[in-house]
Symmetry: C2
């Protein structure tokens, strides 16, 4: 591959109109014309409406879809991993060993998994903008915005009973109200072994060809019965074919394609290096601890996977930004846009907005380290600390008017907040001491041993000894204690004198101060971005798509291989390839095959497609998204992108960048012949039990 | 364990006279009185002389000893690993699989292993001090010192034919000339599998109990024949017993027990966090790359082990310095010493010296990052770069007068320098691109993409693309090319227009500028330390030991267990413990047993001692040191310390801190019954073939 040429192309197209199969499109503004022109296919309203209602979002950070009329939901194993980890024990390691419910009664209820299904989208831009006093900036504008968000969400929630979230699009160019049906009785139906779902482990992650059965089936219940969704995807037994036009419906988490140059430079020179150092530090910590015993490895597995995955993503993103050709193209494109702007008489505000963003970014850079350590919690990495701070702040925030609270305490978020706060998930003190001790060490490194706040935090102990003291004496891991403090409010929290809550209290004034500064500057940036966005529309016309926001989007593209190092990488892999890859690695971890895959190889049709790539424009958060064909049938499920796709945060490219999916035919073959779960396979094909 | 109490004790004793079994003693000033008083044992001159001449130092960074009259040398597997790695190939992976020479003719010659045996020590303090003009500071003093070092070393080398090194002791309080017999024809006789040598891998590293056969036998040749050393250690078949007084003769690399508070604070707040971030970054890089294929893993293995080992060491050292109790004790001890100093009329210079050290340290901190990246090569991590710079600088330095050259180009170091430069060790381009690409990424992160030097280095390419270009086009991996340029001098180097050498040239002015500043400040610190050292002698008397300098030292202590988490950890482990530990971990890597250990278990006496701990004062560099009893017999070999010993850089403690050794009886049992090498076992017992 030629990275420079590749990134140059990506940069060029990212700042102009969408080309090729680019775009994470809003369902409210789908790319009808492009698809009609390029592929002769008409995106109709019923087609879109069906796909939208069959798509689901998981609070563990991924996407999924209804695949039967009896509430069956399919997502990735790595999206379900959080839930699997939480109800696994040393005796029943479902995350590692997999699970298949023999009967509906055997389906296991998840502790705190939440599913949302989008019902409607409403443009509330005018109402939000009207609520912000003319000339308000920074703090005042941020408070006004938070307040109108909370009011709109609360009103919608009360009127419809639906989860209601106001979403900021186009960096503040538009605001949409998303209403979703919320489900919390989610039960595990089937998961393969981690080794089948994540065959090749971290070494093969983001690589292609691949051979991963990265799937996990849940069933959604309501009032004790499986839900009967009005829309679900019909399973295509043949699945995706080379050259097919396909669509992805899912929730890309975040992209940064419209960032200005100073913001990109901040990511390149400050944020990404900081995050990567933290990820690599955590990876070493968890790997070393995992190595000491099997039980340690079990407790750390899900976290470790997440860290390794994020590390590869950030490494790829940083590489894109550090490429002088890529970054130079971003600079050139911005300069060119500014020149075109300058030629217009009404462009002064937009040009000034660039300066405002740069100034806000400098201010944010100045507080970034302290903010990450204190407010973002990087200096206090432990679930117990998160619970302690949630209890402390709930006591302080809940008496305030809804619109004046920190955003996560708004009434509209209350149910999800409480689901998380009162989840009885296992929290292991030894693991908590490990991570808290390491993050306190980081705190001392970064702020310096002489910082008065650091000295308050350590209270005369070494970081590791202090972590042990705090974790061993706090009571926040007791759910009843959390209920008592949450319901008793600030007075009960204070009376409890819990050491970890008191630590959270000690850093809270400084944490809040930093957050307030950051929110004011983010607000300034958002307002400036909105001004630029309006100018961009005026110059280039609308018809694009906003940066990703973990809300439902539609992507499209072709099932298509690519060229790499002079060789053609075919679009599809087969079961035969899985056995070949394992044999080439002498079946050594992480390339070892689960026992049943070895035993049942003879019965398999080895030519069955396993994974495939497409040019669809995706990013993290799309994991678990259904891939459908023109007929709207399920032909695969997104589970990864290749290494070349890691620059997608900043721009799209279809030369080598590819989305990776598990093939619908491969899933069926594995369910029938490897896992011998005929009822589940039959439900998929029939669309009901 | 109670870290605070433990570190407090360590700190207290580190700055006062040596207690307990503390000390890495000079052979020229052994602790005769202490050992006589405490253990009733007289250290006689013949006893010391015998042990000194039987001790060896390896240029790969460890220690060893002669264990037969036919030139057999025993060191650790992990000290020999560098040599094993260098002559291993995909077909013959001696590092992983081990090796046993069936006949003397089968012994394999190492590519660039060098052994030194100390012959004599001469105090040259007066001569060095006399050569430094009165009042000279910084640069001028450093040049004068380098010049007199080079002159003394050259004169000694020419007079005796021995390798001659002037060593700075007591931070400049004394200078000793060490003369060593140098051997370079070193042949591998026996190495166990890496999995036996390093059973438990990184997870069990620095832990105890342990079960590692961390040994490697070489034979030293001269003129094609095995050397017949005048002194070698008699093997004790019974070996170390619980409670025995034992001695360690080896080469502790570096300790920092006499550092001032500002220097310790620099380590805590700057150097150690920086190094740890680099180590963890490298560990992730190598682990991820190793995971992609077995051949990758083989190529990276030795580096990866070294990185993991260093990471654990630094983590432990940083933990000690971040403990407010430990650091507070260091501060208190220094303040107390200053107060006692202030009571003396002649102490003004010594008190002023503290200020000079603090000022120099501030200056060093200001250039630390650039110095590490450029002069220390952290931004250009590849063997090829090291060769390129060596060729460039050799061309520039060798025409200068001996005393004015950079230290590594002094005549006295020439043979060792050339051995390294012309070594035909394998250098893998893919591995070089990996590490150079990552370190160029680090360079951009740390200096910023806008730094002009960074832009020169990248030449418009991304870090990884630039690394590929440089590694694929340089010719420095060709030994003949290196000979040609080295012999042709600066003109030949310039004419070659090698891209990597030209890169080294581009950064050389800035690298040299930084080095010059650093050497001048180090010189200032050294002079100030020497002033403090003299005052310390006046106040406390001599009779101590200087910080470690990778020169031969003597330690002593007892074979003795310890208490941890309320339980007693016995001093010795047995073969039975090895099998138990493996079974408890389901024989999964890194707790898997090599096949022959499984097959031959029945024939073993499972009660045979395997590893043991002692209170001897050691640190990195002592790896491979012989442990001897009162009779001077070999009873074990140092291979590690426990986690609690990691604060030893800053102070000694004998509550929980322990040195780990392989037991002489365990080595014999394994050689005879597991590896079936009776001739080798017989040579050890008889003292000759």
């Amino acid at each position: 591959m030629k990275p420079s040429a590749f990134f140059l192309l990506a940069a060029t197209i990212a700042l102009t109109a969408a080309h090729a199969d680019e775009g994470m499109w809003l369902y409210t503004a789908p790319p009808r014309d492009q698809i009609q022109a390029k592929y002769g296919f008409a995106l109709t309203d019923p087609w879109l409406d069906h796909l939208m209602h069959a798509s689901v979002r998981l609070n563990s950070g991924g996407s999924g879809s209804f695949v039967s009329g009896d509430g069956l939901v399919l997502t990735n194993h790595h999206v379900g991993a959080d839930a699997l980890q939480k109800f696994s024990t040393p005796a029943h390691n479902y995350l590692r060993d997999g699970f298949a419910a023999a009967t509906p009664a055997d389906e296991i209820k998840c502790l705190d998994l939440e599913l949302n299904v989008l019902q409607s989208v409403e443009d509330v831009t005018a109402r939000v903008n009207a609520a912000i006093p003319a000339g308000a900036t920074g703090d005042a504008a941020a408070l006004a915005r938070r307040s109108i968000f909370a009011a709109i969400e609360k009103e919608s929630r009360e009127a419809t009973g639906l989860r209601s979230d106001v979403v900021t699009l186009w960096q503040g160019g538009a605001y949409h109200l998303y209403r979703s049906k919320r489900y919390t009785d989610i039960r595990l139906v089937f998961a393969p072994e981690a080794q089948a779902a994540f065959f090749g482990g971290d070494p093969d992650n983001f690589e292609y060809p691949r051979y991963d059965l990265d799937v996990c089936f849940f069933r959604v219940y309501e009032n004790g019965l499986p839900v009967r969704p009005a829309h679900f995807l019909q399973w295509s037994a043949a699945g995706a074919q080379d050259g097919d036009l396909v669509f992805v419906s899912g929730h890309p988490g975040r992209t940064s394609r419209l960032l200005t140059v100073p913001e990109l430079a901040f990511l390149r020179d400050n944020q990404f290096p900081w995050q990567l150092a933290g990820l690599k530090r955590r990876e070493v910590l968890l790997s070393a601890w995992s190595g000491r015993s099997e039980e340690n490895a079990r407790r750390a597995r899900d976290d470790l996977f997440g860290v390794q995955n994020s590390r590869k993503v950030r490494d790829g993103e940083l590489a894109a930004l550090q490429d002088p050709a890529f970054f130079g193209a971003k600079v050139a494109a911005e300069n060119s846009f500014k020149q075109r702007l300058a030629a217009r008489p009404d462009a002064a505000d937009a040009l000034a907005a660039y300066g405002q963003i740069a100034a806000a970014q400098r201010l944010l850079a100045g507080i970034a380290t302290r903010q990450r350590l204190l407010e973002n919690g990087n200096g206090f990495s432990a679930q117990s600390f998160g619970l302690a701070r949630a209890l402390l702040r709930a006591g302080d925030e809940r008496p305030k008017p809804n619109g004046e609270r920190l955003r996560e305490f708004a009434d509209s978020h209350r149910e999800s907040f409480e689901l998380d706060l009162f989840s009885d998930r296992p929290i292991y003190p030894d693991f908590e001491i490990l991570t808290l001790g390491d993050s306190l060490t980081l705190l001392v490194e970064q702020l310096g041993a002489g910082d008065p706040l650091v000295q308050t935090v350590l209270a005369g102990q070494s970081p590791r000894a202090r972590a042990a003291t705090l974790i061993n004496t706090t009571r926040v891991r007791d759910v009843a204690f959390r209920h008592q403090l949450y319901e008793g409010g600030a007075a009960a929290v204070a009376a409890a004198q819990d050491p970890l809550i008191e630590l959270a209290r000690a850093i809270d004034p400084e944490s809040r101060r930093l957050r307030k500064i950051a929110e004011a500057q983010d607000e300034t940036k958002q307002q400036a971005q909105a001004v630029i966005g309006k100018a961009r529309f005026a110059l280039e016309g609308a018809g694009g798509y906003p940066d990703a926001t973990f809300t439902l989007r539609l992507s499209y593209g072709l099932v298509k291989g690519y060229e790499e190092n002079g060789a053609h990488v075919p679009a599809l892999t087969t079961f035969a390839g899985l056995y070949d890859r394992s044999a080439a690695q002498h079946n050594q971890p992480p390339f070892d095959l689960p026992a049943r895959w070895v035993e049942r190889k003879q019965g398999l049709d080895l030519a069955t497609p396993f994974n495939f790539v497409s040019t669809c424009d995706i990013i993290g958060g799309n994991s678990g998204s259904p891939v459908v064909n023109r007929a709207g049938e399920f032909v695969g499920i997104i589970f990864d992108g290749n290494l070349q796709s890691l620059s997608a945060d900043f721009g799209y490219d279809d030369v080598q960048s590819r989305a990776l999916s598990v093939h619908s035919a491969g899933i069926l073959e594995a369910l029938r012949k490897v896992y011998a779960v005929p009822a589940l396979a039959a439900e998929l094909v029939a669309g009901h039990r």
